[in-house]
């Protein structure tokens, strides 16, 4: 890919003086980078989650080669999303009005709140169609390395909701990784004093999978969380 006809090499010194120093490994290694705008686009794309330097390059060239109208739509979509989309004042989910569609829906059961890390987790739970309560989006998980503590999460808002609404159960659905577990522990300790029952999603074997393919940690957790059947 480095040999793409559109590529124009730049020397190391010239590059070091340029403004793309935060770019991918290419610039770090001090080897060839693209000229101005192209490299800027690659660097910007490379900052997106899950996009490495090679993917960023592929995306950039896709954008370069695509139809102008298509790309205008992409630009408009990005601009609109940044202008129009807000976060629900109640639960913190993405919304186009003050409150999100779920919080506005009178048919949703106000006695249950499912606590998740991100808005995308709301969608994941919604897809199950088995939860009819409401949500609370924390906006992340406790992660001291990234400088995220309880104060950076929407925990105060959650406590405020508990005093107003008639909540009977809180379901903690943070990610089953270290940070998610730590957040869950924190919430449990905090909510214990309020006296509302708190549950945590079970973790264990995936449905439809084979036991032999489960990794040791998952299988170990499944053993710890086994339930009586008779």
């Amino acid at each position: 890919m480095e040999g793409h006809p559109g590529a124009v090499g730049r020397g190391d010194e010239e590059h070091a003086a340029g403004r793309n120093r935060a770019g991918g490994p290419y610039s770090r290694r001090g080897t060839i980078v693209y000229e101005g705008a192209v490299q800027e686009l690659i660097d910007e794309l490379g900052r997106l989650p899950g996009v490495g330097p090679k993917s960023a390059q592929r995306l950039a060239f896709h954008i370069l080669e695509s139809d102008g109208e298509d790309m205008k739509r992409l630009v408009t979509a990005i601009t609109t999303v940044k202008e129009r989309v807000k976060f629900c004042t109640i639960c913190g989910n993405v919304a186009e009005q003050e409150q999100c569609a779920i919080c506005r829906d009178p048919r949703r059961d106000p006695s249950m709140i499912c606590v998740v890390e991100e808005s995308k987790d709301v969608i994941a739970v919604e897809r199950t169609r088995s939860f009819r309560g409401r949500y609370h989006v924390l906006g992340g998980a406790i992660n001291p390395i990234a400088g995220v503590g309880p104060d950076q999460l929407r925990i105060r808002e959650l406590l405020a909701r508990l005093s107003d609404e008639k909540v009977q159960e809180i379901i903690i659905a943070t990610d089953p990784n270290l940070e998610g577990e730590a957040t869950a522990t924190y919430l449990v300790r905090m909510l214990k004093t309020i006296g509302i029952p708190v549950t945590r999603l079970a973790s264990g074997l995936p449905v439809g999978g084979d036991l032999e393919y489960a990794d040791e940690v998952t299988l170990g957790r499944a053993f710890e969380g086994r339930r009586a059947m008779s």
Binding site: I142, P144, I145, G149, P150, D151, E216
Partner: protein, 422 residues
């Protein structure tokens, strides 16, 4: 088990190397810097996915290349397994087992079992406690590969907790929010730490008689070697006694801590953390836990470090490696379950008596791979097949004398035997 075939691509000094290796004793001979150690290092890497010489993978890749590939075929009993590990400079390493689809590299660890002796082992005894902790964790993982998760989990929690302590210290004051979050991390650190601690205590119990035996076999037996795990977590009794125990190691508790069930050990851990909280906040770092523990090495009553002679120090280092070999043998009775022994340049470091004794112990193993700069260093018991290593490859193989006894008087004659073929 034994390694039957090894192929290296872009690994260290080898653009490409293919070699068959036979069971029994094989000695790689050649001058310094020619790449003998690179060969055994690659075999060690296939077993543990780490090098005994460097902590990062980068130097393993030939300078200027993007990746190195190590392929090995092992025979265990009647079963043949091929493992291919790709070490990538920029992306994650990958592995293939028996030419199947690539898997995460760590899934390939532990298929081949090796015990590696190297000059670096001296630092097991003379170096920092971190080396001895690493030794324990490596033995633990080679016994049960999935135990690598214990250490990894603990380290993840530790990093987060240290980040929190550091930011609390930077903030200058310890707010209630900090306190509440720290409680959470204490709990998680204690859970992960108790699991790691329990596993290490159990391992040391199992390892201890083997260290004693190995040391006795390596020396004339006038001194008795011993190992003891020194946890930084102290028992409740000790906690009550000394009010400033951070940094102190508590050897008397070992038995009692080992007797505790996990939940009790976790509670004790939390108690320890609470006790040292002030100090931890002052220093912005976690002071209690398996990352601060030590494996104490003793000769008679005295610690090895500082008291033992150079020769004794070497014997202790070898005894630790041999003990892990004995433990692996004991734990795996299946045919071909015994690990491959690798002796990388160790004989040059030892005196004649230790050489002979070590050679006699390792010689009966299913496969022994030895590297040496000069054939003179090789004790008679290990005069097997020799492979001469030349820059960039291998030259000439010499089958060692069939009967070891014949050759005992003139080992110096052997290295020259490989030359005419080259």
């Amino acid at each position: 088990m034994y390694v039957e075939h090894l192929s290296l691509t872009g690994f260290r000094s080898y653009p490409q190397l293919d070699t068959a290796i036979e069971p029994g004793i094989t000695v790689f001979v050649g001058p310094n810097g020619v790449g003998k150690t690179n060969i055994v290092e690659a075999i060690g890497y296939l077993a543990t996915l780490s090098s005994h010489r460097v902590s990062s993978d980068k130097p393993l890749i030939s300078f200027g290349q993007d990746r190195a590939i190590i392929r090995g075929r092992f025979v265990r009993g009647t079963q043949r397994t091929g493992v291919e590990v790709e070490i990538n400079a920029e992306t994650a390493n990958r592995a293939r087992i028996n030419r199947a689809n690539p898997v995460r590299a760590r899934d390939a660890a532990g298929i081949l079992k090796t015990v590696l002796f190297a000059p670096e082992d001296l630092s097991l005894v003379k170096g920092d406690p971190s080396g001895r902790r690493r030794y324990l964790d490596e033995v633990m993982v080679s016994l049960l590969p999935h135990q690598s998760a214990l250490r990894a989990d603990y380290e993840r929690v530790l990093k987060q907790r240290n980040a929190l302590l550091k930011s609390a210290r930077a903030a200058g004051r310890f707010s209630t929010a900090h306190e509440a979050t720290l409680d959470v991390w204490d709990q998680h650190l204690a859970e992960a730490g108790a699991r790691l601690l329990a596993a290490r205590l159990l391992l040391v119990d199992h390892l201890r008689p083997h260290v004693q035996r190995a040391y006795k076999e390596l020396t004339d037996g006038s001194k008795v070697a011993d190992i003891v795990y020194l946890p930084s977590v102290s028992s409740s009794a000790d906690l009550a006694m000394d009010d400033d125990g951070a940094d102190a190691l508590h050897d008397g508790d070992r038995e009692r801590l080992g007797d505790l069930e996990l939940p009790a050990l976790t509670d004790l851990f939390v108690e320890n953390l609470l006790r040292h909280r002030r100090k931890e906040l002052d220093r912005g770092i976690s002071l209690v836990g398996p990352h601060r523990d030590e494996l104490g090495l003793l000769l008679g009553q005295a610690p090895v470090k500082g008291y033992a002679s150079h020769g004794e120090t070497w014997s202790m280092a070898l005894a630790l490696r041999l003990a892990s070999y004995y433990l692996l043998l004991e734990e795996d009775h299946t045919p071909g379950g015994d690990p491959v022994l690798i002796l990388d340049d160790v004989f040059a470091e030892l005196d004649a008596q230790r050489r002979t004794r070590l050679a006699a112990i390792v010689a009966p193993a299913e496969q022994v791979l030895v590297t040496a700069a000069v054939g003179d260093d090789i004790p008679a018991a290990l005069l097997g097949r020799q492979i001469r290593v030349v820059p960039g490859g291998l030259a000439g193989t010499t089958d060692g004398p069939g009967s070891v006894a014949e050759d005992r008087d003139e080992p110096a004659a052997v290295p020259s035997a490989g030359e005419p073929d080259a």
